[in-house]
Subunit: 190 residues, 2 copies
DNA sequence: CTGGAAACTGACCCGTCAATCAACTTCCCT
DNA sequence: AGGGAAGTTGATTGACGGGTCAGTTTCCAG
């Protein structure tokens, strides 16, 4: 029963369903039909709105990325200069960023970036933005902000991978590890 | 032109071809035909020897894992107690462990482990072995060996991911970052 | 010399899935 | 009212890829 103005609602539902499906499967081997079924529509409609499977995946990737950016901004609100780096780390492991679903989908996007130029481009943008945010946040507390930002970024990626494969690794543990390294990176020159 | 005693040679060629193909593609979307072609045989023969696609992939995964173990052993040879942790780190980024090909294939196995129970099992074994090696190596030089091993392991995984997506990241840089964190993890209590 | 095992392949079968199409329904504008 | 736009789907198509099989060649044992 068609209603007017469904497009944004359908798009949203499909994007959500994509993230859920990717997160649950942990693989890019997810069919358009599965996504559409979870979103409560036919696969034809998914194609109608997005044009193709890749576009659906890219939309989901953009969503996760922008959710993460929002999380960072929220965590950064009202935090003094010296606490900014820790706030960014908390954003990585808290809120909606570190649910099993999001982590699984995130890993899928890493894979997609290896063969899809647009996905690679999105990843590079995320990567550069996180890096510059971290450098800026580390400048007041760290002797070598750029190097520390690279290390911290790599550690965060690694913790994501491990969380995806090892359900034992809790968000709290992961966050603690990252914060410990952050403290070391900052404090070992005094 | 059939010759006797080809089986081990073919198996080896197919495993090598699998790693090369996975490493080049950066995805599990590699067909048996591609692998077989690169190995110079028909796809039917690949099925004949391995039984199926999954078996081929698992054989390749086992190969990469055992190559890595060999690398660690080699790097550890004749190194004094205090240098063991650094030697393991060097093994991760040197030799055949950190070629673009091996890193790409490695990432594929992480993906496979998310949906294939046998691959997950193999990953867990690798994971536990690396962990216990690291803990043992860190004991003489580090106040909290277990925590440090977990952190170092995650960092190494993260550096692999980044190397896979970012050709700018050289082995030397990655190794330097890992060794820096290792030094911090050891030295910050003095 | 001969029969069987090992090595090897081309052709085929069959399931799956992205993508398209031709409909049908509901809503809104004039 | 009624025509077009938006919403929606089931059925279909076409490609692709894993797996199987029947058949061919080569080698070796008895």
């Amino acid at each position: 029963m068609p209603k007017q103005g469904m497009e944004p609602i359908r798009r949203d539902a499909l994007v959500r369903a994509t993230i859920a499906e990717l997160g649950a499967a942990g693989t890019l081997d997810v069919t358009v039909s599965q996504i559409a079924r979870r979103a409560g529509v036919s696969s034809a409609l998914a194609h109608h709105y997005f044009g193709g499977k890749d576009q659906i995946f890219l939309a989901a990737m953009r969503r996760i990325l922008s959710d993460f950016v929002a999380e960072v901004r929220r965590e950064l609100k009202g935090v003094p200069r010296e606490g900014r780096a820790a706030a960014i780390v908390r954003a990585c492991f808290g809120g909606s960023s570190f649910t099993p679903e999001a982590v699984g989908a995130w890993m899928c996007f890493y894979v997609m970036a290896q063969s899809n130029p647009q996905a690679l481009r999105l990843w590079q943008i995320y990567h550069l933005r996180l890096r510059s945010n971290l450098i800026h946040a580390l400048r007041p507390v760290c002797p070598r902000p750029a190097a520390a930002a690279d290390t911290l970024g790599a550690l965060i990626d690694g913790l994501y991978i491990r969380a995806a494969l090892d359900p034992e690794l809790s968000p709290a543990q992961a966050e603690r590890q990252a914060l410990t390294v952050l403290a070391n990176l900052c404090g070992d020159r005094k």
